[in-house]
Symmetry: C2
Subunit: 309 residues, 2 copies
């Protein structure tokens, strides 16, 4: 981008952020990428999620829920620390005695390094809403496979002032497990379905092949392979910049990455494939606000009719 184009983005970004706060949609905290959702923002998020569930009611997805933390061993087992060490959140706690507790409080009260007295717990923050699903389905799948849906909070350590880049946000995910053909056909069908749904909401959505933010030099090769094999797609909508639209929905075909590790097998006994898609709920809300304005009451009638039926 030229310096002028960058200036325009920065200016638009600042105006958008200020508008979100001024309209009570975002309640800022002292930490970048961590903010409260105001009443209207949370309503948009809930309404969009309800719309997705209504539109997919006939699919027969089985709803489950998992907390925002998961076993540390699961993160280790999935190779997340090879691929995305920069994004992971590890939970540490104090497990000491009375005297050590007083020392910790003294350090905390005096601005000292009280965290040195902590130790890693058995849990980490959940980086993707579907991760805890896979180990729950070790073994044989029923005929036709499985379709699961979860709504979960996920964590990514990437502090930013960009309102769409949150450290903690919600994903509505659908997870398909079955034969390779079944899973790919499901993913392909959803690409169009996701586009249609977002376009009916008036969003200028388009899809593209994508790559995960793999870490470091070797990560660049991983990302290139992922693009070449067309394993990840995203649906993009301009929020901060027309030139660099924001991913509001992503589709991942894991092949046998998860099913191999957890022994998820098709009815015939062969290792199954898995794929998932996830709507980033805060990002969809921000895309709607960017497109239709800060006042949901003034959004186009057809958009309102879909969200507030």
């Amino acid at each position: 981008m030229s310096a002028t184009a960058l200036d325009e983005v920065a200016h638009g970004l600042q105006a958008f952020r200020e508008g979100l706060v001024a309209h009570g949609l975002v309640l800022p905290t002292s930490v970048r990428g961590v903010w409260g959702r105001g009443t209207a923002m949370e309503d948009i998020i809930q309404r969009f999620d309800a719309l997705v569930l209504r539109e997919t009611a006939g699919d027969g997805a089985q709803p489950l829920a998992f907390p925002p933390v998961l076993p540390r061993t699961l993160i280790e087992q999935l190779g997340y620390l090879d691929n995305f060490p920069q994004l992971a959140g590890s939970v540490h706690s104090f497990m000491g005695n009375d005297a050590q507790g007083r020392e910790l409080a003294r350090l905390a009260d005096s601005g000292g390094d009280w965290e040195a007295l902590l130790a890693p717990t058995d849990v980490m923050l959940t980086p993707a809403a579907c991760y805890p699903v896979y180990p729950s389905f070790s073994g044989l799948l029923p005929q036709g496979g499985r379709l699961i849906t979860v709504l979960g909070w996920v964590f990514r350590h990437e502090p930013s002032d960009e309102p769409t880049r949150l450290q903690s946000f919600r994903m509505r995910e659908f997870i398909r497990m079955g034969s390779p053909d079944t899973v790919v056909a499901w993913r392909d069908g959803w690409l169009q379905r996701g586009l249609d749904l977002l376009r009916r909401l008036g969003l200028p959505a388009r899809s593209d092949v994508a790559a995960d933010p793999f870490f470091g030099r070797s990560g660049r090769m991983m990302a290139a392979q992922q693009v070449e094999q067309r394993l990840k797609f995203e649906i993009l909508v301009p929020v901060i910049s027309e030139a660099q639209p924001t991913a509001v929905c992503s589709f991942n075909w894991h092949q046998d990455h998860f099913s191999g590790k957890f022994g998820i097998r098709g009815a015939g006994g062969a290792t199954a494939h898995t794929a998932c898609l996830g709507f980033g709920l805060e990002r969809v809300a921000l895309a709607l606000i960017r497109t239709h304005g800060f006042e949901p009451a003034a959004w186009p009638d057809d958009v309102r009719a879909l969200l507030w039926p």
Copy 2:
């Protein structure tokens, strides 16, 4: 308790846990106090929360939402590390370069201490759903004060096999800010209202004065003071044991603890008081299951009519 009574509790606990898993209500993980919510369990939780919102629709509570992490400085500022260091969850991440990233992956893959390469981030896990609310309302309250409601995931580091003692769970909270009289009258009214609501669901609920699990020897004095001043109440329902019922709802009158720190003042300018109440959603669901059985379809008609209207 006598040894026989303890045996009975242990036996009942095991049978209850096994029943929850056998009925698909609980999806266990490798970590104690961290489990997935099966379809029927999640439905009970959602239905109870919807019931609470329906019953309180006339109160005019303003809904907000906050992520499961909050600023580290907020935990420090609130004195949480003086009182509950043993429960806090601190989020640590990797912020190193490419070479350090490879070292971290090597350590993780070989079972080494990869956590030594992490550093504390700006966030911690939210220990109570109301904590992020207070700093958002620094300044003058409107006439009559404020009533806020939030649904949030909270973390307590207390690994346990006891199904009601979770490391990560949801609280539906209501937060009242206003003059001391207003706040105490609201808290007192809710004590009866909460009991009534839970009893209409067939739960043998009773209320009692309570204390928070303050840490260490000096914590015992804090707890005694809290009881003496009647600052905390709980609504209790037998889940694991008749003799030691489980708190499913708690009421805290903070006096000026939060409002003083964040400069929350009444319309007249004096420091306001705050109080909150929170339903532990997973605990209410477990109390319903313990009372009415593992199959919600077979629960009493009047209970079903309230939850599935």
